[in-house]
Point group: C2
Chain length 456, copies 2
């Protein structure tokens, strides 16, 4: 009998817990699920005799540690900053650990301690990061084995609305944390390298330097650059690659319209908008426009951002209701980003039967002998419903399958890792196909030597 | 005999120390000037028997306190964050204090302690802040006395190059801290209020929403908005004013060209530009432009930022040498803002005989009975040379004159203050006129009811 402890029973744990409860009998698992919310923890494993859910405060070492000692494997679905404390306990009690989050410096520092304890701490094993690493590394390793030398690696992922639920002019709904969508791309400039030249895109140009990618059967997507593509050179062993570019997918046309809010300053979360408590949506937009008592807010916006009368972004903006003379009912003044988020939440919210979609796409160009070759690889996953979403499946199932492999002793790796080893990614990618999470690879002739992030 | 302690003998202390040494005999002053740099401190008072300069570490309480105890008045020219520690010592030893810096919360918290100690701590008594407060409050108080009700207050200040030294296409040279010029406007959005409506300008629009102001005899200037105009409502007792707008002057045409660097992301100081140690100026500009092996950096820049072939900003950019294939000689990678600053310092540096210029302009529109009236007020100060610059004179002389008044007992005020009281600003403004720092006020008929920050 193996003991599994899952810390955190929120949205992203649903698919993982379904996997665990479905496999518990056959694999001889005993499962405990803990959360701050007792009801939630119980509900997620209600139909399984081998699992129990209950409330603890996982941030209290005294509540957490006896459970970590009991477990053979812990899966931490806590917010990323709390993983390290859990990891230290796992080292103490020689318990394996899985997290879907980016590896932190503090986590990496536990590598030797984890090896000494004989445990594996596997990080970045959700969808992005996670499936991106595994699916990319699979092709990269194959290319290397065949003697190819990588020249271009591009990779895009998007959390979007499924085509059957795609019924608004933005081709977008909130399928994940709305706040992250509003703040996306802020902070320092996006950096990448192209043909050996470092390239930097500031926030005010980020949504205008997009690249259009068609995906077979799903139409056109557009990608904007992620913050730091450069760190993936070290992660993937591509230190000398001339071009590496990672980005985020939206449906074609989204970014140009979204840039309206960026240019206005409406996505800023760094200050409180004085008087915003009593502002209508129209007042909110007007607060970013020059004063002119003779022109309407609509006319000022068109003039200010040079939006032509027949520009299709106009319909998107009007559809959002940004010109309505309606207050938001805030109890206090808020930041521009929060105000915008609440406007968007009135329109971009999922209907009960809506399904989400995760799309991932990789481009590999490599030199083989004296010529270049190209492989593209893509995955499209549609959610089952609003519990077993594409997001929940693609985050939770890699964690769950990895857990099974660790408990079975299939993975011999010890220490602090991300899933870039063949012994890890190969069986996980294979098992994911049983759940409809599948990559389609194709050769591209002739290779497209550079996809220039285009300009408006 | 009265004792004056000046902490800090840098550039901005020159004019103040000249005033002190010139008046020391007549006013019966004994003056000590301390600085980290012994030579500098000595040099600034070399020609005066009543003054001595020497080195101390002013951040060490044991070195500082005996001098503060000795003094009747301290003038702190330290970086702003160190004033509070000096102020606490001044409370302890019942020594008056003057600083040219913005009042901090911590400083304001000393108000009652300063009153109990029977001392005056006068802040914001340089040029901006300082002369701006005094010259504005003078007109505001006059309008109030005449029964006028303020409707619009606008105020702009610029530190620029004097017309006789203005010989480059930017009509700009560094006359003060270059780093502050490169970073100007960054942080949160500029906020102000216009006809009762809150207005916010994000950084990426700041240099495109400028206002053109002609100054009699000096041609056209343009102003961009300062970070926070709203706080001046409370400072000046204008809580209900419909329009308040403060900004910074440049010569007309500067901002549109400067916006090139803003749009590129070249003013960003938040990250290190990988590889910048070995980049040429041309590489630096290219790092913000899309990759395209067929187009020149010049063509890509024109295309990216939609700069017409005959746009006058082009000559400005070329003149700066930004397309030169020349490295900067950095010893390590730097931020974009630092790289840009070093490019600019090669071109915007003062020649030995160049003089600087401070320009300040206020606009007051007020309701008198049932009609509106307008007054404009402006000051232009040209530097004498590169020691007694316009900046040094306008920062140092208000401090020095205020010091004289405190020591003479002319100012009865106690506690922590800024110079908005008539008993303070009136004699200081009068004395400043003896040094060529003079405001010219004129009535404007009919009043211009709103100057809309224009759009490109």
């Amino acid at each position: 009998m193996k003991n599994i402890l899952v810390i955190g029973a929120g949205l992203s744990a649903s698919s993982m817990l379904r996997y665990f409860t479905q496999h518990a009998e056959k694999e001889n698992w005993s499962i405990k699920v803990v959360d701050r919310d007792d009801k939630l923890a119980k509900a997620k494993v209600a139909n399984c005799d081998r699992a129990e859910g209950f409330a603890i405060n996982a941030l209290d070492p005294n509540e957490r540690r006896p459970l970590i000692e009991w477990a053979d494997l812990v899966i931490s679905m806590l917010p990323a900053q709390f993983h390290v404390e859990v990891a230290k306990d796992c080292v103490t009690y020689k318990t394996n650990l899985i997290t879907p989050s980016y590896i932190s410096k503090e986590m990496l520092a536990l590598d030797q301690a984890a090896k000494d304890a004989g445990i594996l701490i596997m990080n970045e094993i959700g969808v992005d990061p996670g499936i991106d690493h595994m699916s990319a590394k699979k092709v990269l390793d194959e290319i290397e084995e065949r003697g190819g030398v990588m020249h271009i690696f591009e990779s895009f992922t998007g959390g979007l609305i499924a085509p059957e639920s795609d019924d608004n002019p933005w081709n977008y709904k909130f399928t994940w944390n709305p706040r992250n969508v509003v703040l996306a791309g802020q902070g320092s400039a996006a950096k990448f390298i192209q043909e050996g030249q470092y390239k930097y895109i500031p926030y005010n140009k980020l949504f205008r330097r997009t690249e259009i990618i068609p995906i077979d059967g799903y139409g056109d997507f557009e990608g904007y650059a992620n913050r730091d593509s450069l760190k993936y050179r070290a992660k993937y062993g591509l230190d000398d690659i001339p071009t590496i570019y990672r980005g985020t997918f939206r449906r074609k046309g989204f970014s140009k319209a979204w840039d309206t809010f960026v240019q206005l300053g409406a996505t800023d979360d760094s200050y409180i908008l004085e008087g915003s408590k009593d502002m209508t949506k129209r007042d909110f937009i007007n607060s970013f426009l020059p004063y002119n008592p003779n022109d309407s807010v609509e006319l000022k916006l068109r003039h200010y951002l040079k939006i032509d009368m027949d520009d299709i972004i106009w319909d998107k903006l009007v559809w959002l209701g940004i010109f309505e003379k309606k207050t938001m009912g805030f109890e206090e003044d808020v930041t521009p980003a929060y105000f915008l988020q609440k406007i968007l939440e009135e329109k971009w919210t999922l209907k009960p039967d809506d399904k989400d979609m995760i799309v991932m796409w990789h481009k590999f160009v490599y030199k083989m002998n004296d010529h270049f070759e190209e492989i593209n690889s893509h995955m499209v996953v549609i959610g089952e419903d609003q519990t077993y979403t594409a997001m929940s499946n693609t985050v939770g199932l890699p964690c769950a399958i990895c857990a099974k492999m660790i408990l079975n002793g299939t993975i011999g790796l010890k220490g602090v890792h991300i899933p870039i080893h063949k012994e890890v990614y190969e069986p996980i990618l294979n098992d994911l196909e049983n759940y409809g999470i599948k990559f389609i690879e194709k050769a591209v002739h002739p290779p497209i030597m550079y996809l220039d992030p285009s300009m408006a």
